[in-house]
């Protein structure tokens, strides 16, 4: 497997290492000049991985771009403060995930509210691929699946990202995995 998406780093120029927080320029054998990372450099480093995670959750490129942009707008508006955090990349990722969850929950509520007003479609058996199966999951479960299986995060980090306890994150993962296995006709006992 390739490196974890949230650990991506870029080599921006010879002698310059771009981390999620600083530009480190080698100035000698043992010295380095550490400069605060500017917003534009941070954006170029982090936007794509955050967008990928959000799009895997929302399964809609246009809305994923909108949500990710919203998170980076919040970051830009608070950049002087957030850029001093230990992990501004984690901050913007958390904001984006919570905005995506809000979008999914709102969609689900409207479906429920409108569903009560419309005649119910007859149930019919469906065959799902992974994309279609993930679309059947509630927001928290989608997020847990993407963070655990795509970003390769342990449940403790999934919990931090979702703003819930570790046991709740574990429950989200358990239900999501079981539901996906049902939809995909897989045996969910195999780990």
């Amino acid at each position: 497997m390739t490196s974890r998406p949230h650990e991506l780093r870029a080599q921006s120029a010879p002698g310059t290492f771009l981390s999620s927080r600083y530009i480190v320029r080698a100035t000698g054998a043992s010295r380095a000049l550490i400069e605060p990372l500017d917003y534009t450099a941070f954006f170029r480093l982090e936007f794509a991985p955050v967008l990928r995670t959000i799009e895997l959750m929302l399964r809609d490129h246009g809305r994923a771009e909108e949500v990710t942009q919203d998170a980076f707008i919040q970051l830009l508006l608070h950049w002087p403060k957030i850029s001093r955090y230990e992990r501004p990349d984690a901050w913007v990722r958390r904001v984006a995930i919570r905005l995506a969850l809000r979008t999914l929950r709102r969609d689900r509520l409207w479906q429920l509210v409108r569903g009560a007003l419309l005649p119910k479609a007859p149930d019919r058996p469906s065959r799902f691929d992974v994309d279609g199966a993930i679309r059947q999951l509630p927001g928290s479960q989608r997020a847990a699946i993407v963070l655990h299986y795509y970003e390769d995060r342990p449940t403790a980090e999934v919990a931090v990202m979702l703003g819930c306890s570790e046991s709740t994150a574990r429950v989200h993962l358990f239900h999501a995995r079981r539901r996906l296995a049902q939809l995909l006709g897989e045996d969910d006992r195999v780990i």
Binding site: A48, R98, R102, G139, V146, Y150
Partner: protein, 203 residues
Amino acid sequence: MSFDRRLRQELQRDADQIVPDVERNLGAVEARAHHRASLGSPALLGAAVVIAIAIVWRFGASPPTTGGPGSSGSATSSPSLVPSASPSYDAIAGTYMVTLDTANSTVSKYALGGAWTMRLASDGEIFLSPPASFGSGTSSLSGIAFAIAADRFRNNIFYNDYCSSIGTYTWSIHSGRLAFAPVEENCPIRQALLSTTPWRTGP
């Protein structure tokens, strides 16, 4: 191939197909942030106007507002600053607070005791702030919504967390207090939160 491996591979494959145009998005973010920042002063002015209207409305003669047919227009006598919202949404939109007493057995059972704040937005969104003592990692709850039809108030508070369905209530506002009564509800914690005590109008 194991199920977990299949999930990892297919998610990775989906992710590999996402090739964002970073520079276009950077331009869009900077433009939208600039637009938002430039709206700062008018937004403050707008907020001041809203507060002034609310004060006039509050201290003027205002009959009780309920969601019932024929009564929803009473609270819309103030000019709407959200033209897209329907009159009934404007009638209920606002900030409400309630302090739930742990002496109540239902409140105590679900650890709901303390001061709750709920903001109902004109676009149907609910912003719910629980007391610090409620649960873990729930300093604020978001992504909640409501819908109104006549005197019915449907909402998804605690959906996915403690409730598996949405709840339907009747609502009414009398003397600055918003009261809910369950009509169709099978989630006791949400019912305890909404209907144990009427919510008083907040600042």
